[in-house]
């Protein structure tokens, strides 16, 4: 089999046993692998209404067929489960080297069932599979756990080739804002997955192996990869902007278009207050570029972070950190943002979910809905110390931070102010103001994973103008654009590719690489069709879990309160206008449910 290993490891944590299964080739053909395959397996194996933190929920770690073969940016591993934060399906995109090493260890996916009665670590090291007790790891931060595990291997060389995925103290305490961390990289979209892993008492997964992956047509594949590397090198965004600053460079572009949030997305803001000097990042942190497996872009920046709470190496602020942990909490100091991001990484919190929750708390306090005494913590917009303290306490569930640990929506509802929570389906908004970027707004409302930008990055065309020059304020053609990007992202996630190369390449440029690797004859349209199938499969899961069109709405603020100044002055989100068009395009009824004909045509 080309690309795929065709093997799946199924582990039952309560019985402490495991067995190896073959993955059905027809499933792989219809869902590709990665996210698609994970979503399909989860839909078949669990009841969508199950409590996410119960033993019945399962976690699937699944790599795409292109991961590890040397395909450009083929590194992504997905973690699929039912989210503890939103109750929808959740799929985290893991960066780094874990996904590739999982393939070299001989598996496409690992399915975790049931829960262990005490903390364990699952390791697949050179074909030796073991479920070992992990009491001494419990309570440790992600980097400590990694160091301890590697030291315990005894062999200094083996440690270098072992990759670990773990949850931090936040996940262990089943805080719904918890994420999974691998190799110091924060996963994207992992809010609520850390808690599920914690509820199963699974501290970490370790993989290493020496299995070979095969490629259908080696010569053609090498040629195709070389072409793509050269193309990425000649595109300005992927060769320069991303390579020097990482995703932080979006902040400046977004600022020009008034897309950045400020103080929980409040409308009347001075544009100067949002300016953040991302160009000073290299000077502040001595940035070092790090790449995921087989990635020529190397957008991840490592930095030396020095602060009162933490001294050491961590991730430099990404766009998500700047927006969600920084500006949305009114904080512009890059050192504070970097600290907050590092705390998230060490504690295993999701920066998007944690930032959104803190911003909600800050607004509740500012508006007098909740008092400092209620929350037992200071929550003031723009105060870095408040943010850092809240994050640390939230993750350890210490003091009186239990309340905020439940997430922004639960907090806002508790104080009778659900409108003060800026998010959809329980997940806080990614740092894009939907009033100033209509396409992203529609995606945020309709996304199966809540308002997270990396599941349809229409920003590429709406603001960066890579393939098309679209006006972010217009609604024209946006439902089509959103659908196209949602399907495209589903395909790329399922194959195991990253989304960033779309800033330098067209989707069709990938097709020769995909076909020469897998030995298939896909056309770009065929792949997009598979993407649509995956999107509908996820939608069906969410419908069964109790989500429908009433959940496809943006917070009232974006629809009712126009922006008061700047390039998007007077604009609100026109999501209600675009939604019926989007449903029609998708072949769904007014209730947002896929029509029987649509599902038949997609062979679901």
């Amino acid at each position: 089999m080309n690309g795929w290993t065709g093997r799946c490891l199924r582990v039952n944590l309560s019985k402490k046993d495991f067995h190896i299964e073959d993955v059905s080739p027809s499933l792989m053909e219809r869902f590709l692998g990665g996210r698609g395959l994970g979503v399909k397996m989860l839909s078949e194996e669990i009841n969508p209404q199950v409590d996410p933190l119960s033993a019945e929920n399962k976690i699937i770690f699944v790599s795409g067929p292109l991961v590890g073969t040397g395909a450009v940016t083929g590194a992504s591993c997905n973690v699929v489960t039912k989210s503890a934060l939103s109750g929808t399906i959740a799929c985290a995109k893991l960066r780094g080297h874990f996904g590739a090493e999982l393939k070299f260890a001989g598996f496409d996916m690992i399915i975790i069932e049931d829960k262990a009665d005490s903390p364990v670590i699952l390791s697949v090291l050179d074909d030796k599979i073991s479920i070992q007790p992990a009491l001494e790891y419990w309570g440790r931060t992600t980097s400590e756990a990694e160091k301890l595990f590697k030291a315990g291997l005894g062999d200094k060389w083996a440690g270098r080739e072992t990759y670990l995925l773990s949850v931090g103290p936040a996940g262990e305490k089943e805080i719904p804002l918890a994420n999974v961390i691998n190799d110091g990289f924060l996963s994207v979209g992992g809010a609520g997955i850390g808690a599920v892993m914690g509820s199963k008492n699974l501290k970490a997964l370790a993989v290493r192996g020496s299995h070979s992956l095969t490629v259908a047509d080696g010569d053609r594949f090498v040629q195709a990869v070389t072409t793509l590397i050269n193309k990425l090198n000649s595109a300005p965004l992927t060769s320069r902007s991303m390579s020097t600053l990482g995703s932080a460079f979006f902040a400046d572009r977004c600022h020009q278009k008034a897309i950045l949030p400020f103080e929980n997305f409040k409308a009347p803001t001075l544009s100067e207050s949002k300016h953040i000097e991302t160009e000073t990042l290299p000077r502040l942190f001595a940035l070092r570029s790090r790449a995921c497996f087989a990635c020529p872009i190397a957008c991840i920046k490592k930095a030396d972070v020095m602060g009162p709470l933490f001294k050491g190496k961590g991730m430099a602020p990404t766009f998500l950190a700047i927006g969600a942990l920084g500006l949305n909490c009114g904080i512009r100091d890059l050192t504070t943002i970097a600290m907050a991001n590092v705390i998230c990484g060490e504690m295993g919190l999701d920066p998007l979910a944690a930032g959104g929750t803190v911003a909600t708390a800050m607004e509740l306090v500012e508006k007098g809905n909740a008092s400092k005494e209620d929350l037992k913590l200071e929550f003031r917009f723009g105060e870095g110390d408040d943010l850092l303290q809240a994050l640390t306490l939230m993750a350890t569930k210490k003091g009186h931070a239990k309340r905020i640990g439940k997430g922004g929506q639960a907090l806002a509802v508790e104080y009778g102010q659900p409108k003060r929570f800026m998010g959809v389906k329980g997940i806080p908004m990614a740092p894009f103001d939907p009033r100033a970027i209509q396409g992203m707004g529609l995606h945020f409302a309709t996304s199966n994973y809540g308002p997270q930008h990396l599941y349809a990055y229409t920003f590429i065309d709406e603001v960066l103008h890579v393939h098309e020059e679209l006006d972010p304020l217009s609604t024209e053609g946006k439902p089509e654009l959103v659908k196209q990007y949602q399907d495209m992202t589903a395909v790329m996630d399922s194959l195991g590719l990253c989304n960033w190369p779309l800033m330098g390449l067209k989707f069709k440029n990938f097709v020769p690489m995909i076909n020469s690797c897998l030995g298939t004859e896909y056309r770009a349209e065929d792949l997009l069709r598979i993407g649509e199938r995956i999107w509908n499969q996820e939608r069906c899961f969410n419908m069964e879990a109790g989500f429908d069109h009433t959940h496809d709405v943006l917070p009232e603020r974006f629809v009712k309160e126009p922006l008061l100044e700047g390039p998007a002055q007077g604009h609100t989100s026109k999501v209600e206008e675009m939604l019926p068009v989007y449903y029609r395009l998708r072949g769904w009824n007014e209730g947002g449910a896929p029509l029987p004909g649509t599902l038949d045509a997609l062979e679901l």
């Binding site: 080309n2 590890g68 073969t69 040397g70 080297h97 590739a100 070299f104 060389w157 270098r160 020496s210 299995h211 070979s212 992956l213 095969t214 490629v215 259908a216 047509d217 080696g218 010569d219 594949f221 090498v222 990869v225 070389t226 590397i229 990425l232 090198n233 070092r288 570029s289 790090r290 790449a291 995921c292 497996f293 087989a294 990635c295 020529p296 872009i297 190397a298 490592k302 190496k313």
Partner: protein
């Protein structure tokens, strides 16, 4: 004579060179353990290391390597595979691997896929 110059400060640790090497030596097979170039990580630094001659005994002249204010284990950048360092040995046959400057001239396959500039082909006379 062309040679490969390694600048470890530029390496991003993507390991694309390992796969390039593997694909080029065994048609259509991707496996870092079969590569004749490996990227070793020490702290936050990556050291791309190209396989040199095999030695069947551990050496006695091991020194610490000092770059700037950091001290590294010399074994890391030693190109030999030896009983102390289980790299550059083909798993199935136990056969030692050595760089043969493969690929389409003028660039060896690892250099061609290295986008960070860590591997570079230079003329050395």
């Amino acid at each position: 004579m062309p040679r490969i110059k390694i600048d470890h400060t530029k390496c991003t640790g993507c390991r694309h060179c390992e796969i390039a090497c593997s694909l080029n030596h065994v048609a259509g097979v991707a496996n870092p353990r079969r590569a004749r170039i490996r990227v070793f990580r020490e702290g936050s630094t990556y050291f791309p290391t190209i396989a040199g001659p095999f030695v069947d005994a551990a050496c006695t002249s091991k020194n610490d390597l000092v770059i700037g204010d950091q001290t590294y284990n010399m074994c890391l950048i030693c190109r030999a595979s030896c009983p102390e360092k289980p790299f550059f040995i083909e798993a199935e046959t136990g056969f030692p691997l050595k760089c043969d400057f493969c690929g389409i001239p003028p660039s060896p396959s690892c250099v061609r896929w290295c986008n960070s500039g860590a591997l570079e082909l230079v003329e050395d006379d």
